[in-house]
């Protein structure tokens, strides 16, 4: 046992630059591949609903606005989203209609502002992936 075993380390830090990042004034770099908020590319969506089915948090809602015109509305509830990225993995189109960006500073004072929605016409692009609704776990994000 040694009295004041921590002393050298403490004194060293006293004269060292603190480890602190001055956050709101200086942003921390998020690593590549950070999972932030999900987004939809309406031009690519074929409304296969794979994302809606696989979303663990009920954050994606797809409703038909006008069935005849093939107009659909997709709502992403950012207040429910758990940022797992499963929607991107489940998306069968190439390139993917769902993508996830590294945005995470979206704090707000109302949950209503955390919805994002798109009204769009279903894309007719044939998916290049083998089947429109493959296994929920496509290898490699």
């Amino acid at each position: 046992m040694r009295i004041a075993a921590f002393l050298p380390e403490l004194l060293r830090s006293l004269f060292k630059k603190p480890n602190t990042v001055d956050y709101p004034f200086k942003k921390l770099a998020v690593p590549e591949g950070f999972r932030g908020t999900p987004h939809l590319d309406p031009d690519m969506c074929i409304v296969c609903r794979a994302c809606e089915r696989d979303c663990p948090a009920e954050a994606i809602e797809i409703t038909a606005v006008n069935e005849a015109e093939k107009r659909f509305r997709m709502v992403i509830h950012n207040d429910r989203c758990i940022h797992c990225g499963q929607c991107v993995d489940s998306c069968p189109t190439v390139p993917k209609a769902m993508r996830i960006d590294s945005l995470f500073e979206i704090a707000d004072d109302s949950r209503h502002k955390m919805k994002e929605d798109w009204v769009y016409v279903r894309a007719v692009i044939k998916p290049k992936a083998p089947a429109p609704a493959p296994a929920g776990e496509s290898p490699n994000a």
Binding site: Y23, A57, A59, R80, I82, D108, D109, R111
Partner: protein, 139 residues
């Protein structure tokens, strides 16, 4: 003048109480991580307080469980005015993956008023700091 001074002091010295209403721990460790050297929220005068009597801002995480409901209300009432509530993480906002579970009442705003929502699962410490800063900016 006095009001201005009080407002200034409120912005400069928000003491927080960490309130867990049934969270999975992830947001909690990120809240604690915000206190540690890398993010060090004491820069803004934020101190983690032990009792609701000393706190100004309740930083809450987790969906509200049936058993915690009354306790949350009690803690909210024990906090002296003016008080603010920050809901950290998807669970505290809406219940996220536990939506529809029998012992969950939903997000925190089903029980007490919430002033700021910080999304994330869990919210990164920087997102939490961002949420606090946004809240202070609104005062």
């Amino acid at each position: 003048m006095l009001k201005k001074l009080a407002r200034w002091s409120r912005i400069k010295s928000p003491w927080i109480l960490h309130l867990n209403s049934g969270a999975c721990n992830a947001c909690d460790i990120e809240i604690v991580a915000a206190l540690t050297p890398r993010f060090d929220v004491e820069r803004f005068g934020i101190l983690l307080k032990a009792t609701p009597r000393h706190a100004d801002v309740l930083v809450a995480s987790g969906p509200v469980t049936r058993q915690m409901r009354d306790r949350i209300i009690r803690i909210y009432e024990q906090t002296p005015d003016p008080k603010f509530v920050i809901a950290v993480g998807a669970c505290a906002m809406s219940g996220c993956v536990y939506r529809g579970a029998y012992n969950i009442l939903g997000g925190l705003d089903q029980v007490i008023p919430v002033n700021m929502y910080v999304p994330g699962c869990p919210a990164r410490p920087d997102a939490i700091v961002d949420g606090v800063v946004k809240l202070l900016g609104k005062l």
